[in-house]
Amino acid sequence: MTTLAFAILLAACMVAYALNRRAATGIRDGGQRLHSVSGYHGLFALLMILVPVLVVILLWLVLQGTVVNTLIMSSLPDGTLDGLGAGQVDLILAEIQSIASGRVFGEPEPWKVAAAERFSGMLQTASLGLVLVTALLCLGIMVFARSKVSAEFRARQGVEKIVSGLMIFCSVVAIFTTIGIVASLAFETIKFLRLVPLTEFLFGTSWEPQIPIRADQIASTGAFGWIPVIVGTIVITIVAIVIAIPIGLLSAIYLNEFAPKTVRSVCKPVLEVLAGVPTVVYGFFAILVVAPAIRTLGAQLGIPVAPNTALAAGGVMGIMLVPFISSFADDALSAVPRALRDGALALGATRAETVMNVLFPAAIPGIVGGVLLAVSRAIGETMIVVMAAGLMANLTLNPLESVTTVTVQIVTLLIGDTSFDNPKTLAAFALGMMLFIVTLIINIFALRIVRKYREAYD
């Protein structure tokens, strides 16, 4: 039925285009001068139908499920849902849906079968309604658009207005996305803060998110102090940055100043390959190769190393960030005006001295901006730590031990069971909120530095 609705829309668009175009051509052939060429009259009709009807169909499809589900659940016999948690309610709904689709397991209660019948009926009505509404809307707009065709009608301006509107909508999607992120995070975080006080979340030194199995369970809330989680994040970020900065900067300096052209033209794309490797691959690399290697090394040196040491996750993350830092440093060094380089060389500075004393200091702002963006990436990086770092919050600064990170907690809290009413799920959103705020501040700051720096030498 949905396909039918789209087919009607498509057909209506084409018919309207042809109708209006022919009408306009007719007027022109009648000897009158058209304001807009006939193609624009057709296009006008097409867009007039396409845009609103498509919006209606999409909204209908998005909302249909929710509306039908709500109606079904509220039509159940009184008292069936009393005292049930959100998870159990979802289960009943899923059962009704599966009965409706013909997959019956065992002997369902009669009220479920009745609900399933109502469910199928409603779905049928809904899709029929969709087709009907689509057809009526298409027809109505087609008639309206056809009535607009006249010699004076400014079809081109009409089309351009619609196109402008569409483009503005596209641009605003970015803002909607940001608003969506902030709103969804804030919404769940506020719910979380009703269960766990802000001070406990921000300053608590113990992170043991647990779900209460029964409401009256002792110590059912667990502990939600994010300090060990953020400390773990910082430890891994520091390990990553300590590895990425020297390797990234030195390779940028070498490629920019010393490498022969051929070496440079080979090395840069290979470094890009390093940047293009998906993080899940880095994560598997960390558990398959790096962590065992570090453990073996530790055992030989007699140092106890945790199986999922922060060194493995941080080290691999550092490698991932190398191309990132090196390309920012490369850009920053290249942006230093040639005059400064010439000035130093003409004084008799060696190329190493030119780089270290003149170019590098001049490029510092650009490089700092790049490093900050790398830090923000390290904080927000998820897959490497989910696979290679620890799950238990462990308040330590020792990178040999196992620590957990904000992103690891978000993923582990949300994988599997996710109903929106327990503190465990909500805690993930609170962590997400903190992650978003921290990375946003770093990003804004870094992007501003980078932009200022570019302007200074442009």
Partner: protein, 265 residues
């Protein structure tokens, strides 16, 4: 400005400082300098003039091997300073450039303090053992660069904060801080206003006492004002070379005459 009023100056019968024989410079496939022969005298200001793109800057940059820093650039022939071939294999361009200073078209102070700008050359070359020695070098260079009085109270302010003319004199002071004996100047006044230009020109005239100065300029008036010797380049050829007075009053080559009377360029 008094057009083409050549300043009569005695050209000492000095020794030859720089001698170039059959110099060719190539940029990739472009033959930028064709067979140039010239002898530049010691403690003299020599001006290179000619229309833009004639190769005068390229030639200047081959005197301190700055062309080495451009990958596609190739220099052939023989350039000697004090009789020593500077393209000889045992010559270190770093050491050469400490002796042959260079000032560029656009003032290019380092983004450091005025003091550090001057001290940079002596520091990397290890010319000063103590802080006092360095202070002395900085002061001497700034005085010779005729900018000491303007900056002595703010030696630790950034060099980029000075005005254009001051920046250029700072760059000249920076170049002479390593005690070079040759100073190359690549259109040093082209980015400056007339007042700053005249200050720099005055300075160039003073520098003649201790240095061999080679200046590239696109302004014939400037060449006439500051130089004793003038070389006219055209399309990569050295067309005419002689005393500045002679070149401007009595050019031998018709191309030189056309240029100084404003017909080509």
């Amino acid at each position: 400005m008094d057009d083409l009023r050549t300043v009569s100056k005695d050209v000492d019968a000095n020794n030859t400082k720089i001698s170039a024989k059959n110099v060719q410079v190539y940029y990739g496939d472009t033959h930028a300098i064709k067979d140039v022969n010239v002898e530049i005298k010691e403690r003299t200001v020599t001006a290179f003039i000619g229309p833009s793109g004639c190769g005068k800057s390229t030639f200047l940059r081959s005197i301190n091997r700055m062309n080495d820093t451009i990958d596609i650039c190739r220099v052939e022939g023989d350039i000697r300073i004090d009789g020593k071939d500077i393209y000889d294999r045992d010559v270190d361009p770093v050491q050469l450039r400490a002796r042959v200073g260079m000032v560029f078209q656009k003032p290019n102070p380092f983004p450091k303090s005025i003091y550090d700008n001057i001290a940079y050359g002596p520091k990397i070359h290890g010319l000063a053992k103590t802080k006092a020695e360095m202070d002395e070098i900085v002061e001497k260079s700034l005085r010779r660069g005729a900018i000491w009085n303007e900056v002595k109270d703010r030696l630790h302010a950034p060099g980029t904060g000075l005005s254009g003319g001051q920046q250029q004199r700072l760059c000249i002071a920076r170049a002479i801080a390593t005690e070079p004996d040759v100073l190359l100047m690549d259109e040093p006044c082209s980015a400056l206003d007339p007042i700053a230009t005249s200050q720099v020109e005055e300075l160039i005239d003073q520098l003649r006492e201790s240095y061999t100065v080679v200046i590239v300029t696109h302004s014939m008036q400037q060449a006439a004002r500051v130089s004793q010797k003038t070389a006219f380049f055209h399309l990569g050829n050295l067309v005419e070379y002689g005393n500045t007075d002679d070149i401007f009053t009595n050019p031998k080559d018709p191309r030189t005459e056309s240029y100084i009377s404003g017909r080509i360029g």
